[in-house]
């Protein structure tokens, strides 16, 4: 039996922002994974990938947290995160963290090899095609820096969006520019971050799209938060929500219905 028809067990790494702020992204991920014949498990011992500590220079805490993540996801064939940033932390940075600890390095490398960002996993590993999804909207897609540079997830979301009925993808200018999120950066250096997100929003808005999407909730919360502060009117959705046919949920930061 090919891997496409076989039920395989995948562990979902929910990520802290999705867990707390936008569970619908997690459920969209589960739905998409199930559509490709996966059985989704959500290990209970997971919290966060450790990036806030890592980027703040707290290497000791980062290693402890990384160690916890490694044991929480031990034994699963695939570990999937609906975020390029968190998946990138595991794939690229966990092995670096344990470079001087041969036993842990082996485990970190093993987890890194099994960990994927959601959209690239769907497209590259599961040959996923969006069927029967309608989304009559003009969409522009923001490349998060981690998806763009660390994970090289650039074409997969675009190819999957192309198959959605009614969806028109319009590319923005200066696609490689950061949105200014950067974790604690956007709080510590909010004035610089403001300038960065304003430039990003100007480009996204200039596309004339109705919807902004991306594969990382950090960027999306930053962009949506600034959009609303500026009084702009665009809907902000995670790519998983669109692909799963859940694009009718209220957008990030939008009024509830």
């Amino acid at each position: 039996m090919s891997e496409n028809t076989e039920k395989i067990e995948v562990a979902l790494f929910v990520t802290c922002l999705v867990d707390i702020n936008r569970p619908s992204v997690g459920f969209a991920a589960v739905k998409l994974l199930e559509q490709t014949g996966c059985r989704v498990v959500v290990p209970d011992a997971q919290t966060c990938c450790g990036q806030p500590a890592y980027n703040s220079g707290d290497r000791r805490s980062t290693k402890q947290i990384a160690g916890d993540v490694i044991s929480a996801f031990k034994g699963y064939r695939y570990v999937i995160a609906p975020s390029g940033s968190c998946a990138g932390m595991i794939r690229k940075h966990y092995p670096e963290l344990f470079a001087d600890d041969p036993d842990m390095l082996l485990e970190a490398q093993d987890l890194a090899n099994r960990t994927y960002e959601l959209v690239s996993f769907l497209k590259d590993v599961r040959n996923f095609e969006t069927n029967d999804v309608h989304f009559d909207q003009k969409v522009t897609y923001h490349d998060s820096c981690s998806n763009l540079r660390e994970m090289k997830v650039v074409e997969q979301p675009r190819e999957l969006m192309k198959n959605i009925n009614g969806l028109e993808l319009i590319e923005a200018e200066d696609r490689e520019a950061c949105c200014g999120f950067g974790g604690t950066f956007c709080i510590k250096y909010s004035e610089i971050s403001e300038e960065m997100v304003d430039r990003k929003i100007d480009h996204l808005k200039a596309t004339g799209a109705d919807v902004i999407s991306a594969g990382d909730l950090g960027c999306l919360m930053n962009i949506a938060g600034r959009l609303y502060r500026r009084g702009e009117n665009m809907k902000v959705l995670h790519i998983a929500e669109i692909l799963a046919g859940m694009g009718d949920v209220p957008g990030i930061g939008e009024e509830r219905r």
């Binding site: 569970p23 540079r149 510590k188």
Partner: protein, 474 residues
């Protein structure tokens, strides 16, 4: 120069309000990035060349003592002198002695970042020697009495209007009484003023892009030809370079040059590439009578064998700052010392002290674009993170930041407790936001809500909902 990196936030605040600077920085962003992309795309082997350039520089750094001594012996063979200077003070003293021996009243200068490190102009002025910058950008900021804001375009922050005013103020004494507004004519005016200075200067000082070990040559690349006149007309030529500029062979120079201009300005090559090998020979028709190389360490040898060694591969192309969103936002002066942008954020803590430069490695979103374009593949984000780790270890990171991270870390390491806390936080924030779906203010964390609304949590956490679903489905 005076270090103002501690005031990075205040500096950036000012920069962000400066409309003329915004316009100038926008030109950097548009111009340099597009041109580099086009140049890189036009050369199929560009990525391989980057690997080769990296490997050449790594080889040099692994054998630095050998190549430096080799270089010195070749310079001597040509009749030149090499001055080993371990500190900035040593370098300034050596330069001063050469100038005094030459009886110098004026020196012309080509573009050199090392002389910016030395704050050489102020030093020479204090000794009664007049330094004259001959690179147009350097000349402009010398008139404005400002440090450079970019390593290859020192005056990129200046608008044409500002240059008109500067020239009007400083060139009247040469008979230019009208305000010149045409860019090309402004260049002509500067050229005419400078031409006279070249001829009267006693000493010419240049930097070096490469020090070639096998030939004892020093190499500069320029687009204006000012370097040639600076070094060949005066009787004495002083080359000021830091020690990592040494490179084994001419062949290696040609390899690294293929990525240098392409990464910097998108040119295949700069307009002028000038090789200087010792003083003038008997049958040479021109050239300096004395040839000196000031070889500055200035803290660099301490970086060998540490996490910072990779920074010494830098060939000063400026691609990292040309592509940096933080540089685009705040410009070069905000960084508060000689080197701006990602390379400055990575290097300056070593040069001026981590406490002084603490903001620089922190003011980055880790977008990674600098590393992506660095021609010698310096892992800049990794080095910025290294400084953050040093600051955390040495407890010089701001206390509230530390406490925040430690508190968060405490919960992140305890999944059961984390689950409870996130459940409450999600619920509370969701309730506070109500129907509106977002929060305009928070009782804490002004950094987020100062510029953005906070999209509120949907209600229950994913884990809560998932567990309920599991129970329902048995």
């Amino acid at each position: 120069m005076q270090v103002t990196s501690r005031q990075f936030k205040e500096n950036s605040h000012k920069a962000l309000q400066d409309e003329e600077l915004r316009a100038a920085l926008n030109r950097v962003k548009q111009g340099f990035t597009t041109k580099r992309r086009e140049a890189a795309d036009a050369l199929p082997e560009f990525e391989q060349l980057r690997d080769q350039a990296r490997d050449i520089k790594n080889h040099v750094l692994e054998n630095l003592d050998y190549y430096l001594e080799y270089f010195e012996s070749r310079v001597k063979d040509q009749g030149g002198h090499v001055h080993w200077c371990s500190t900035h003070k040593d370098a300034k003293d050596a330069i001063l002695k050469i100038c005094k021996d030459a009886g110098a009243k004026t020196v012309t200068k080509g573009k050199s970042m090392i002389t910016e490190e030395l704050a050489l102009n102020k030093f020479l002025e204090a000794q009664g020697i007049e330094p004259i910058e001959t690179d147009l950008g350097e000349y402009i900021i010398q008139l404005a009495d400002e440090p450079p804001s970019h390593i290859i375009g020192p005056a990129v922050h200046k608008t044409r209007e500002q240059v008109t005013e500067l020239f009007h103020e400083h060139h009247q004494k040469y008979g230019y009484t009208e305000r010149e507004e045409d860019a090309e004519k402004l260049v002509g005016e500067a050229r005419a003023v400078l031409r006279h200075k070249y001829v009267t200067a006693d000493v010419g000082i240049t930097g070096a892009n490469f020090l070639v070990a096998e030939t004892g040559s020093t190499v500069i690349v320029t687009n204006e030809g000012n370097g040639d006149l600076t070094q060949s007309l005066p009787k004495t030529h002083i080359v000021v370079a830091s020690l990592e500029k040494v490179i084994p062979t001419l062949e290696d120079v040609s390899t690294v040059m293929r990525v240098l201009a392409r990464s910097a300005t998108g040119q295949e090559m700069s307009v002028y590439t000038t090789f200087s090998t010792g003083p003038r020979r008997k049958d040479d028709i021109d050239g300096p009578e004395n040839f000196h190389v000031i070889l500055l360490d200035g803290g660099r040898s301490e970086m060998i064998g540490t996490e910072l060694q990779e920074l010494l591969r830098c060939i000063r192309c400026g691609a990292c700052m040309n592509h940096c969103p933080v540089y685009h936002a705040v410009g070069g002066h905000s960084y508060g010392w000689v080197y701006p942008g990602p390379i400055g954020a990575a290097l300056n803590p070593q040069m001026v002290g981590l406490e002084e430069a603490l903001h620089l490695p922190n003011a980055s979103s880790f977008c990674g674009r600098c590393e992506e374009v660095c021609p010698v593949r310096i892992p800049l984000p990794k080095i910025l993170r290294h400084w953050r780790e040093k600051a955390f270890e040495q407890q010089i990171a701001p206390k509230p930041d530390r406490w925040g991270i430690e508190l968060w870390g405490f919960f992140a390491k305890r999944p059961g407790l984390y689950r409870q806390v996130t459940k409450i936080a999600a619920k509370m924030l969701s309730l506070m936001a109500g129907k509106e779906g977002r929060l305009k203010k928070l009782p804490f964390n002004n950094g987020w809500t100062r510029v953005r609304d906070l999209p509120a949590p949907q209600g229950e956490t994913f884990m809560q909902q998932w567990q309920k679903k599991q129970k329902r489905e048995g």
